[in-house]
């Protein structure tokens, strides 16, 4: 599976991330969104809510499934939240 990982940080703009998510969903049918820390997770969830609105016009509805993943950031082991986004149904 070559699903692209969209990395979201606390300073990411939700609308810009939403556009990226909607684009990947349109071309791939699914997307992986990853965030570390409460602010980044919040931006990611808001982006997915906005992306859902963008995709309504295409007759698509998306859902997400969260999981924990260990990632290496500058040599430190941290726990990220990974949100698997897919078209409903």
């Amino acid at each position: 599976m070559s699903t692209e990982i969209i990395k979201v940080s606390a300073s990411s703009r939700s609308a810009a991330v939403a556009g990226a998510i909607a684009g990947v969903i349109r071309t791939e049918g699914s997307a992986i969104v990853q965030a570390v820390g409460a602010s980044a997770v919040n931006q990611a969830v808001k982006a997915i809510a906005i992306a859902n609105g963008y995709l309504e016009g295409d007759g698509l509805s998306i859902v997400m499934s969260p999981s924990f993943v260990d990632v290496d950031i500058e040599g430190k082991d941290v726990t990220a939240i990974r949100l698997s986004v897919e078209v409903r149904g």
Copy 2:
């Protein structure tokens, strides 16, 4: 629809919220989780990831769909994130 709303705050324990979500999913088949602010949204998403683990033993897999809702908190109009949790498929 009488789906219960599980309200999550920044100080909610993820594991406790996860237990509540798993319980409602087992009895109702769906649950609504609501959070205001980045920390609360983060706790809610973590709780849903943990609940997914709890429900695996029941052969259930859950997904969530985020949306924005306006809520009144002590007379102030604030935007909450509502996570509609449902059994996949």
